[in-house]
Amino acid sequence: MSDAIRHRLTPLEKSERRLGFAMLAPAFLLLAAVVLYPIAELIRNSFHFNHLAQPWMGTPFVGFENYVKALGDDRFHEAVLHTVLYILVTVPGAVVIGLGLALLANQPFRVKWPVRLGLLLPWALPLVFAGLIFRWFFEYNQGIANAMLRGLGLEPLNWLTSPGLAFFAICLAIIWKSSSFVALVLLAGLQTIPKSFYEAAEVDGATKWQQFREITLPMLRPAIFVALIFRTITAIQTFDIPYAMTNGGPGNSTETLAMYIHKTTVDFLDLGYGSALAVLMFIVSAVITSLYLRHTRRDPGRH
């Protein structure tokens, strides 16, 4: 009976439905113009030869040639490896530091705004600014890092011109920049934990460390997961900070996948190959995003 009612739409429901579609249309068209069309164009390009420096070649269809080229491209492999390393270092790094910051910000400070502002500022700062600031920190002659080393009576280091140190410096900048976002997500999670949970544990004899292990961490699991996913998705696309600090140097030692794609298309003008690389990156992002969506479709509060 109730099913029959649900399936047969009354004229009012039909007109409501039409109105609904009409209201959605502008947003959908805009999205189609700025997201769907470029993605379609990107995929189309990736199957064509399209090199702006060689206009006489035209843009012939080449099938999977661009993708095959990527498989044998050492610089592509290195860029992927660097990107993976950035993810492996900066995602857990940002979550650990962010958790620390969130726990700190959740303390009952008498004046809350300086703490909250301190948390928000790195997040509000444009990525390139963050990159530039850290480039100055690690600059050889005037940078604060070397000034501190000199102060300790140590030799200054070539932070941005030796591969290992440059990777370290960039990771530090990324963690600084992104941990505040993680901290905000986790702070929101912390504030949903009732105070009585800790008080009951206190009366029951749990130490602060036990309270953290037994209450804070398990209760924060959904928030930590969300933070991990968001951080991972943005880490796949790491571009601005290494671009501003080293521009991928020295050599290609700090170049990420996004930077290589940018160089291929904007510097080398190879749109076809760059598109194929971008599609590969898109696939990786999409897979991780779908994992995240599958997780959130389950009730994150229940484990």
Binding site: S196, G205, I215, H303
Partner: protein, 354 residues
């Protein structure tokens, strides 16, 4: 097991005092209820006993130890919280055994004790569930299980029944009383519900604005309230308290300018004074033609008896009548006021005149 000695305890947040020197002496095994309107400091006092709030002044003693600076875990107490404080990511068994595990008990002991507690509270069949799958009453039982499993010297209850509906509340009240009879452990119980206070307590401490207004047995606070505050707070319906004047020869009492009623001999203690006359609903009755004339304003039949708001001259009083009493709103009746049972209060201080 232990008694609790609270001496001159003061609590202030910054420069704002919320508890102004409370003295309470709780005997070993006694069930004491702290009751009062919101903001009277009853929960703060309980949390100070638990160690969740610092003590600004005075001393709190549990057994023979001053516990002022002892952390909660060293006070040998267990507390049941208003929201039950059950961990949603842990099963009922894990929640009940949490305190034992935190104190390093071995798995065998924990399992045995959790089982015992579960049997007492009839939650054995729930042990593998998560708190999210339980009803309010079941959660309440689990929270109590978590407290009794540790076999502490003192149980503290912070408004444990306020999230339950009326029927469950009555049920759990009985359960709590049974538990106390079974274990005989000292209990301090905070509530704003005077029915809970009356039914559960060995002694009730009625708090008002950070001090103890009266600390006595339920019978005592009901029959000999120390002030109008206690008189109004304890008992349902509230005690009728109306301005009155006792004649200089103490033979009559005049209710707010009008009806003069013969006064009992005991009113001589306030001869010639303006007073507040306190009379409970059950001490009003229907009388013959020689009674006090009154008009029925509102009739509230409760089944077992009938409450009626009566207008006597310029004052209003609620009376409790037999269910068959011939009352109707707007009707004129004559009343018998059982003034032998009445209370006299000073209109200035609100304190009982004895």
């Amino acid at each position: 097991m232990a008694g609790i000695e609270i001496a001159k305890v003061v609590k202030a947040y910054g420069s704002v005092p919320v508890i102004h020197g409370i003295d309470l002496s709780v005997r070993d095994g006694e069930f004491v209820v702290l009751v009062g309107p919101s903001g009277c400091g009853k929960s703060t006092l309980l949390r100070m006993i638990a160690g969740l709030e610092s003590v600004t002044g005075g001393t709190i003693r549990i057994g023979d130890r001053v516990v002022n600076d002892l952390p909660p875990r060293d006070r040998d107490i267990a507390m049941v919280f208003q929201d039950y404080a059950l961990y949603p990511h842990r099963t009922v068994a894990e929640n009940v055994g949490f305190g034992l595990r935190m104190r390093g008990a071995d798995a065998m002991t924990i399992e045995k004790k959790v089982k015992e507690a579960a049997e007492i509270l009839q939650i054995t069949h729930l042990l593998d569930r998560k708190p999210g799958q339980l009803s309010g009453g079941q959660r309440q039982r689990v929270a109590m299980g978590r407290a009794i499993v540790r076999d502490p010297k003192v149980f503290l209850f912070d408004e444990p029944l306020s999230n339950l509906d009326a029927q469950l509340r009555a049920e759990m009240r009985v359960e709590i009383k049974k538990l106390h009879q079974r274990f005989g452990t000292t209990i301090i119980y905070v509530t704003h519900d005077q029915v809970e206070a009356m039914t559960l307590a060995d002694r009730i401490a009625i708090l008002k604005a950070g001090h103890v207004e009266q600390f006595a047995t339920p019978d005592e606070v009901y029959r000999r309230p120390r002030s109008t505050f206690v008189a109004r707070f304890i008992g349902s319906p509230s005690m009728n308290i109306v301005p009155a004047r006792i004649a200089p020869d103490a033979t009559t009492i005049t209710l707010d300018g009008d009806a003069a009623v013969p006064a009992p001999a005991s009113f001589a203690r306030a001869r010639g004074r303006d007073v507040l006359l306190g009379l409970r609903a059950e001490h009003l009755g229907l009388a013959g033609p020689d009674g006090v004339p009154a008009r029925t304003v509102i009739v509230e039949p409760l089944g077992s008896d009938t409450l009626a708001l009566m207008q006597i001259g310029r004052v209003e009083m609620t009376g409790r009548f037999p269910p068959a009493a011939p009352l109707r709103a707007g009707g004129d009746v004559t009343l018998r006021l059982d003034l032998e049972q009445a209370h006299l209060f000073d209109p200035e201080t609100g304190l009982a005149i004895v």
